[in-house]
Structure formats: structure tokens, C-alpha cells
Symmetry: C2
């Protein structure tokens, strides 16, 4: 499939850019009379025009009326600020439950014109082929979406079975694709620290291609392990949460990526490295990492992060550098985008106020793509093949028996391990509970907030179901809640109080081709269809956000009292975060990185 939205390279465009700049030819577009926000010098320069041709900046000068011909589109800036389109330094499109096209459609009106995206979730479901599909749809969009090749699928080899595995050979192959900008976050930081040959081979393939290795060092230890990780090659990190984290990363020559996602709040405590400690800001970058569709619809995207950074005390021009030129430089793209300067892709925001940043006009590659919050561009859809739309392979129709927990032979009571969900935290607690045995069966105990959890294999149709117990959701009555978004291997997680309803929920997800389904008293009460890989919808963000909102309400209707209850649900199989999780291979003790028994 030929990408629709192609931009000529600088050398291809150069003859016209030169002709326009020297006054020998008219521009395609001229923006007149604005304030040139210059992120190279960190200045605002009043009274400038911008001439654009071939989707790139041709010239910026006080008067470019000579570049206006009969076919030139003229935009009156009316004294507004003209700033570069915003860049998201690291993010996962799948977190919005949207395809790249629908994600782009949602963020363009917010002024995002460039994203560096790691399709880690689809890599677990569909491997390299899935990454290529995301990459190809990304290249079809009217904005710049660069792909970071996922590095760690599975996240925890030996503790889970992904749909596909990513190998160093996959990484080397992907480095030649046109939209690949580097390696996605190297989450296996113990692997780097211990010089795991597979992880080092992935890094080496990326460095050999002169591309950027994304980091992910999720430990508070800034001593020898951190230094060893830095010596391994990751060039950035978005896992810092404290000022010391940010400073340590930049001192070691990494870029500190400060994150404000739907559920990440890591800017405020780190940006003081610049606002209070006065460090050189060039090493700091803003990003979202994960944004839900609701955030995109209701709050914004990188404009939200920018405003937050300014609210945290950052100079607006410094904050702007952190989501434009700093990002571009980091990825080796500073002659391609990230500033309003000759030759760069003509990505511009017009705004009346630099602090509150109302995004009034968005121009991408020289075309008006949004105005007053309204999308004006086409975001074409990739022709997702059946292999991507039919990814929920249960192997059989599941029944209540698949969700019954058999007690050990002859036991009257058992001491079961229970996954304890902790309000507002990603780590779980390893709890235990005495549970009675009835007819050789161990039942959940909603009265003590102990529900069942099942990990349903869905990649190979093995019919495998791993059962366990979970506490913390507060579910009451007969219910079930299931999701094929189940980080990181994305099988299916079903939590419920009733085996029959859990089976019905799982079967419904199989019919839907993936997504989220909530059941109460024998009936489905909410659904979020995610037909692409069981992770994403190709419907508009507003629709997905509304369905997700109804799903959250349905969880509450079943008695759930948690904040971010759905996120907690979807992370229960994330076998890299302590203390205890569930995978297709069994219960996992994530303090020891080993499988453990359900019963003590």
C-alpha cells in the first residue's frame, strides 16, 4: 500500500524552496504577520511572515508578500504566535485503544504534529507483522508518526507466552523500514545490566543503524546498576519520577523524558532540575507515554503536557523547546522538523497566548489540518487484514467448568495466594486467604472482597485457562469483567464472582474479536469492541471514549470502588512488576521472577 500523505525530502524540495526564498517563485502558502517563536535562539520575533512550499518552510522574514502568487494560500496570523508543531517524545498509540489513524485524528486538533511511538502491545499479539501494520498506517497520516521498534516481547521470557516474540533479527530487519526511528523502550534493564546477549544485540543493531535506543529504567537505584544500564546504550528514559532521577539521567548523557500521561504525573517533580536547579534544558523532553481516549477527547495531548510544564514554573519558551527542538535533536531529526526554519517540515501552530496555548490553527506539512479544535484533514485507514482482526483464538467454547478452581485432593480448606490490588499503585501485594472447599472446589468470597481471576490463553487457541484469586476491586453479586488488553502478552483477563458468567464474558470477547466486556446478573451491561488485535478500535476517539466511560460505570455498578479500575484490571498479567501476577503459565511471584503455586 502506497502511503497517501508523502512529503518530499529537503533535497527534492530544495530547488523550489530556494526559488521561493529568493523571490523568484510564489509559495504554496504564506502566513502573514505573526510572532515567530524561534526555538533555536529561544526568542519571540514579532512581525514575521512564513513562506511554505512542497510541505516545507521556504523562508521566514518580515515581509514575504513577494512570495504571494495567484494560487498561494494566504493565512493572516493577525499578530498571533507562530510556533512549531508539538512532538510527543515517547508514547504508545495502543494505550488510546485507537488505531494510528484515529489517534492522529484525535490529537491533530491539539497541535501534535509529531509522535515517536512504540507499538509494543501489538508486537506481543502479532509480532513483527503487527509492528509493520502500525508502521504503515502511521506513514499514511498527514502528521509525522515515527515508529520505535519494540524491544521486549515477551517482557518476561519464561514467565509468559506471547503471541509472537521479537528477536534481534527482527530488530535488525525493522531498522531498514522508512518510518523506524529507533528501538522502543528497553524495559529489560536487568538484562542490559547483566549483558544479556539478546538485549545487547538489539541495541547493537539499532546503534549500527545510527538510530536512537529508547530506555526504560524502572528502579530507584541510581548507583552501579543505573550506570551499567547507561553504559549499555539506552539514550533516554521516561521512568524517572524524582528530580534526582532526571538529573542523573542527563548527567549520564541520556535525555530525561518527563511524562504526563492519563495516569502518569512525572513532570512536576522532575522539571525542577531546570526551573530551580538551573540545568541546561536541552537534555529534557516532554512526552505522554500513555493516553486514554478519554484524555484525548476531554483534556488534550501534548498541549496538555506543555501547559502543565508551564504551570510547574517552566519558561514557556523552554517548555516549548522540550516538546519541539529537543525532541527532534534527540532523534537525529533537527534538520527535518521541530523548528520553524528553512527546509524543515512546515508544521505550525497559531495561538493567541503562549502560556495557555489555545490551539487555534494547526498546519502540518504546509496544509491546514485543524482549526478551532476541528479536524480538517483526512487520516486514512490501513486495510487491516483478517489476521489482525481475528486475534482471539479460544480453541473451544468455554464453560463454567473452565473457571472452577479445583481444590487439592482431600482438602477441606485451603490457603490460597491472592493478588492484592493496591489503590493508585501499579505494584500488587501477595496476599493469602483461607478458603473453604465445597465439592472439591474452591469458591471466591465476595463478602471478603475475594474474586476469581482467570488468564485465558487467546493467541494459539490452546483452550488454556489459569485460575486464581484477586482482592481489591470490591465486586459484589454475580458479575464478570473481561479484557483482551492484558499487558504485556495480551491474552485475556477475566475477573468475576461467578464461573458461568466468566465463561459467558470470555466467549463474548471471542465473538467480538477482542475488547472489553462487563457482565452482571447474567447479562452483558457494557462493551468496548477492540477488533484490531484485541487492542484497538478503528472508530473515532469520541466513540471509544464514550464506550470506555460506560464500561467504567458498569464496573462501578458491579461494586468496584477503585480509581483507574480498568487500568488495574489490565495490568494484572504484567509479570514484570511485583509482587504477584498471573500469566498463561500460572501464578507468578514477581519478587523472585518465578512461577508459584496457587495454594500454599
Amino acid at each position: 500500500m502506497e502511503p497517501k500523505n508523502i512529503v518530499k525530502s529537503w533535497p527534492e524540495a530544495a530547488p523550489r524552496l530556494i526559488a521561493v526564498a529568493s523571490g523568484r517563485a510564489p509559495a504554496d502558502m504564506v502566513i502573514r504577520g505573526g510572532k515567530w517563536v524561534n526555538v533555536h535562539t529561544r526568542e519571540v520575533l514579532d512581525g514575521h511572515d512564513i513562506a511554505i512550499a512542497e510541505g516545507r518552510f521556504a523562508a521566514i522574514a518580515p515581509d514575504l508578500s513577494a512570495a504571494i502568487g495567484p494560487d498561494t494560500q494566504v493565512i493572516e496570523a493577525q499578530g498571533r504566535f507562530m510556533l512549531p508543531g508539538l512532538c510527543d517524545g515517547h508514547m504508545h498509540i495502543e494505550s488510546g485503544m485507537l488505531t494510528p489513524a484515529e489517534f492522529a485524528a484525535a490529537v491533530i486538533p491539539h497541535g501534535t504534529t509529531t509522535m515517536f511511538t512504540d507499538p509494543h502491545e501489538i508486537a506481543n499479539v502479532l509480532g513483527l507483522a503487527g509492528v509493520r501494520m502500525m508502521h504503515d498506517e502511521a506513514l499514511m497520516q498527514p502528521i509525522n508518526i515515527f515508529t520505535q521498534m519494540p524491544s521486549c516481547a515477551p517482557s518476561a521470557p519464561g514467565l509468559e507466552t506471547t503471541g509472537y516474540e521479537i528477536t534481534p533479527e527482527d530488530v535488525a530487519q525493522a531498522m531498514s523500514w522508512p518510518g523506524i526511528i529507533g528501538l522502543g523502550e528497553m524495559m529489560n534493564f536487568p538484562g542490559v545490566i547483566h549483558a544479556d546477549p539478546k538485549m545487547l544485540a538489539e541495541i547493537a543493531a539499532t546503534q549500527a543503524a545510527d538510530k536512537t535506543v529508547g530506555g526504560h529504567y524502572a528502579s530507584p537505584d541510581l548507583g552501579a546498576p543505573f550506570r551499567a544500564y547507561a553504559a549499555g546504550g539506552p539514550a533516554d528514559d521516561h521512568e524517572g519520577t524524582s528530580e534526582a532521577d532526571a538529573i542523573a539521567r542527563v548527567r549520564q548523557g541520556m535525555r530525561a523524558m518527563l511524562r504526563l500521561g492519563s495516569a502518569w504525573y512525572d513532570v512536576e517533580r522532575q522539571i525542577t532540575a531546570v526551573t530551580q536547579k538551573g540545568l541546561d534544558p536541552r537534555g529534557f523532553i516532554l512526552c505522554t507515554d500513555d493516553c486514554h481516549s478519554g484524555t484525548l477527547v476531554n483534556d488534550g495531548h501534548m498541549n496538555r503536557v506543555y501547559r502543565h510544564a508551564v504551570a510547574c514554573g517552566a519558561d514557556p519558551l523552554v517548555a516549548l523547546q522540550m516538546c519541539t527542538i529537543n525532541t527532534a535533536t534527540h532523534f537525529g531529526l533537527e534538520r527535518e522538523l521541530g523548528s520553524i526554519a528553512p527546509g524543515r517540515r512546515a508544521d505550525v501552530i497559531l495561538t493567541s497566548d503562549l502560556r495557555t496555548l489555545p490551539v487555534e490553527v494547526v498546519i502540518a506539512r504546509g496544509k491546514v489540518v485543524a482549526e478551532g479544535g476541528k479536524l480538517l484533514a483526512d487520516c486514512p485507514h490501513y486495510a487491516w487484514p483478517e489476521s489482525a482482526r481475528q486475534t482471539v483464538h479460544l480453541g473451544k467454547r468455554l464453560g463454567a467448568a473452565d473457571f472452577r478452581v479445583a481444590a487439592p485432593e482431600g482438602a477441606n480448606t485451603v490457603t490460597a495466594r491472592v493478588i492484592g490490588v493496591v489503590e493508585n499503585q501499579a505494584p500488587t501485594r501477595a496476599l493469602t486467604a483461607e478458603l473453604p472447599v465445597t465439592d472439591g472446589r474452591v469458591d471466591p468470597d465476595p463478602a471478603r472482597d475475594i474474586a476469581q481471576i482467570a488468564l485465558v490463553e487467546r493467541h494459539r487457541g490452546t483452550g488454556g485457562v489459569v485460575n486464581g484469586f484477586v482482592s481489591g476491586f470490591g465486586y459484589k453479586g454475580r458479575m464478570a469483567m473481561g479484557s483482551t488488553v492484558a499487558h504485556d502478552s495480551h491474552h485475556m483477563i477475566v475477573v468475576g464472582t461467578d464461573p458461568e458468567m466468566m465463561a459467558a464474558c470470555a466467549n463474548r470477547l471471542g465473538q467480538m474479536g477482542g475488547g472489553i466486556s462487563v457482565w452482571k446478573d447474567g447479562a452483558a451491561i457494557a462493551a468496548v469492541p477492540l477488533p484490531i488485535a484485541g487492542l484497538m478500535s478503528d472508530s473515532p476517539a469520541a466513540q471509544v471514549a464514550e464506550a470506555a466511560s460506560r464500561m467504567v460505570a458498569a464496573m462501578a455498578d458491579c461494586g468496584c470502588t477503585l480509581n483507574n479500575a480498568y487500568m488495574q484490571h489490565s495490568l494484572l498479567a504484567l509479570v514484570v512488576i511485583p509482587e504477584i501476577r498471573i500469566s498463561d503459565l500460572g501464578l507468578v511471584d514477581v519478587t523472585r521472577f518465578e512461577l508459584t503455586d496457587l495454594f500454599q
Copy 2:
């Protein structure tokens, strides 16, 4: 020829770097107890150790004694500053009249560990083959010498004949060589502004290779022509001389290279853009462009530029960024060098004072290469072939008749065009003089400071001699002064008062294989042999500087009163700088870019 001084790539070194950083293996070298000058954060951090392995930094931390094994070289910093080795952002090795090896030997004790060098002069003499020789000797050195592929040979097509011409195909081919970092200064700025397909093809080949296009915009016009040049792709420029020049370049997304060479003084007036106007310093880079061997021996190299920048009011850490990380980032090398951070080439200077910068110890790629101003490393010589050592092809033995200026048929007096040398300026003045005719011959007139000048063809052995007149040197008596350094096509320029002595001087240069020769009263009184391409010596800088110093004294002995007399001499064929010059094709009117007659 296999380069001798090779450094393992980061991924090749990574397993050991990680092992050292994590405390599992000893380092090759540990520098103990210094102040870590961090150019990423712009901080000085007291009390740090540096561990080095495989020629790269493994770790920087308060205590790395665990990395000291029985074979680890330990260097006590004793509280001194530990800063990255200095980078020269743009320079011509040939200007030192030294080979890359001898140039490196001269600058290493000054703390220069990285140079970006454009072998433009040898390209005019030996074409791509000569560039490759420079490139190969550069890669043999213990410091980092990256080659910028020369872009403009000839500088002025149609007005001169070079030894070889550089084509876009040459540029495309060179981009695949291991040491090529980009395109050398694009001097043909009118060509870019008028979209000359050949110039744009060279730029396109460089951009397609994701490398850096060097700029050279030698005009004070910062309007449309400058913007058109910027739109063409050059990414830096060292031709600025005023604060406005520097600011304009950085605003347009170019890097302003501030130059302090032997005869360039462009830092003081431009650095105020940072020190007074407060612009973001990341777009500013320090460089030398041209340094004579005498400067290297007596004054320094990049340490001289750094001290000067500090003396001009720059914060020492900002000045240091301008000759370390800014330079590295510009050339896409910030993960390779330019800072003391894990994975980078271990290039370090130890100094007791950040302002005066005494260069006490120099470490390059993890080895001590200089201490107390004394070179401790081997700088290997390339086996220069005969084709590079025998480049003065006169075609015949020249005689006085070749240097006699024939008058027009029947004339008694003539009005001759005279090249007027202007003290301390590169441009010449187009003078005229009435000269008498004797025996059909026009003689010089030393009493009126009118000497003869001859451009002797030396690339193809045509025997061609173009004669003319020059004023301004002040030569008296019978003398001749000749040089095969004759920018940019590097034929041979002989200036003298006596045809016989001019012939003797030219013939002597032919015997020497090139260089400089000064004659007085029938005898050679000084010589600087430059056997490599007639441009460079492979003797140590001190010897060359001493010979050059004697040569300058000899010129004075012949009556010359100019400052920088030798530079003036060597620029008289530079047919891109007004007003009048000489080439192998005749006298050139550089205000009109056309050949002109000797007699009006």
C-alpha cells in the same frame, strides 16, 4: 592500509563497559578524584572518578575504586577539572602546511582531540584520490579527525583550471567512506542561490547520507540571498563577522561557527549574541578554520580559541559546550564524543583552572597522549605515494623569457592593470599604471612598488606562464618569491622584480616538489619544502614553523613591509574574492567574474 589507531564501536565495547560500570570487571584506566565538568547539564561536580575501558567511558561516579584491578592504569586528578577533549568544528589541515599526522602531533598537547577537517586544498591538486589520502592518514591518528568532503573544486569554474575537479558523483562516493562526516564548506553560494544543479546534487548526496552540509556564505547581505542559501541546505557557517551575522544564522536553523584562526578574529564580535543578547548557546560552535604552524607551536589551537571566548566574556562552561557537545551534536556524534558520559570515546583534559585552561594531561580514547605540553603518542604517517610527492609539473625548464611581459605591437608605453594588495585585507584593488616599453618588453618598476607576478601552470606540465603586475609588497632590488600554495587551484605564484630570478625560483620549486622559495641577488635565501602535493610537509610543526619564520624574514629582507605578507602572496590567485586576481587562464576581474586583459 589498515588504520593503526582504531577504537571499538560502542556496541562492540558495551559488554565490557557494562561489566566495569556494574563492578564485575576492572577498568583499563581510572582517573581518581577530579571535578567532573558535565557539558550535558552545564555543571561542575566535585569529587568524581572516571573509569575507562576499550577506549570509552564506562562510568563516572564518586568512587570507582572497585574498578581498579592489578592492570588498571590509575591517574590521580588531585582535584583538577576533568573536561572533554576539545573539538575544532571546521578547519583545513593544509593551512598548517602539515600532514594530518604532523598536525595532530602539534595540536594534541593543546587538548584538541577531535577535528572536522575539509581537505579542500589537496582536492584541487589531486582530486578525490588526494582527499582519500588525507582521510586515510586522518583515520590512523590517535585522535578523532573527521573529513568533510570538499564541495567546490574549482572554486570558480571557467576562470581557472584545477588539477582535478570534484563532481557530485565524487561526493556521493565519498559519503560511504568511514571517516567522512559531511560536505565541506559550500563556498559557491551564488550557485546555491541560483539553484545550480551541480551544487544542489552535492548537497542532496550529503543529505541523503544523513550527513552535515558545511556552509560558507561570504556576503554581508542577510536578506533574500541569505535566506535562499539557508533554504538550500547548508547547516552551518563560519563566514559571519558581526553579531547580526551570527544571530541570523542561528535563527535560520544553522549553526554559527565562530572562528579564531591565525588571521581570523571573528569570535569577539559574534559571541555577544550569547554573552549580551542571551540567546540559547546551543547553536554556537567555536572553530579555527585556518591555523599556521607558527600559531600551533607558539600560541595553541582550540585551547587558544576557548581562552579567547572566555576572555570575551563567555561563561567558561558555555564556551566549553561550544567546543565539545555543541560540535558533536551538530555532526550527529553526540553519542560518540564531546562529553564525559558512558559509551563515548574517552577523550579527557585535566586542568587546574577553567579560565586559563592550562592543558596538563590529555587523554584520547583512553590513552594518555600528552602531558605538560609534551606529546606522548605516536602519530603514524601515511605512505604518501609518488603521485602525491611529485605534483609540480612544469613541463620544461623555465627561462627568463617566460617571465618577460611582451608589449603590444608598436607601443611605446602601456597602461597595465595592476593587482593592488591592501594591508590586512583579503580583497585586492584593481589599479592601473603607465609603464614604459623597452625592446618590446614591459618591465616592472620597483621604485613605484610595481613588481611582476606570474601564475605558473604546474598540474599538467603545459609550460604555461601568465604574467602580470602587482603592487603593495614593497619589494626592492633583484628578487623573486614563489609558492605552490596558491589558493584555490594551487598552481604556482611567483612575484619578483627580475625575470631571471623568477625563473630560477620557479625551477627550484619544481626541483623541491613544491613549497616556498625566496631569492635575492641571484641566490635562494629561504625555502619551505612542502613535498606533499606542494602544500604540506611531513616534518614536525616546529621545523615547518621555523622555516616559515625564516621565509617571512627573507621576504622582509627583500623589502616587504606587509603584515601577513605570505598569506597575501598565496591568495593572489583566489579568483572568488574581488577585485582583481590572476589565474592560469589570465587576469581575472572578480567584480564581474570574467577574464580581462593585462593592458587597457
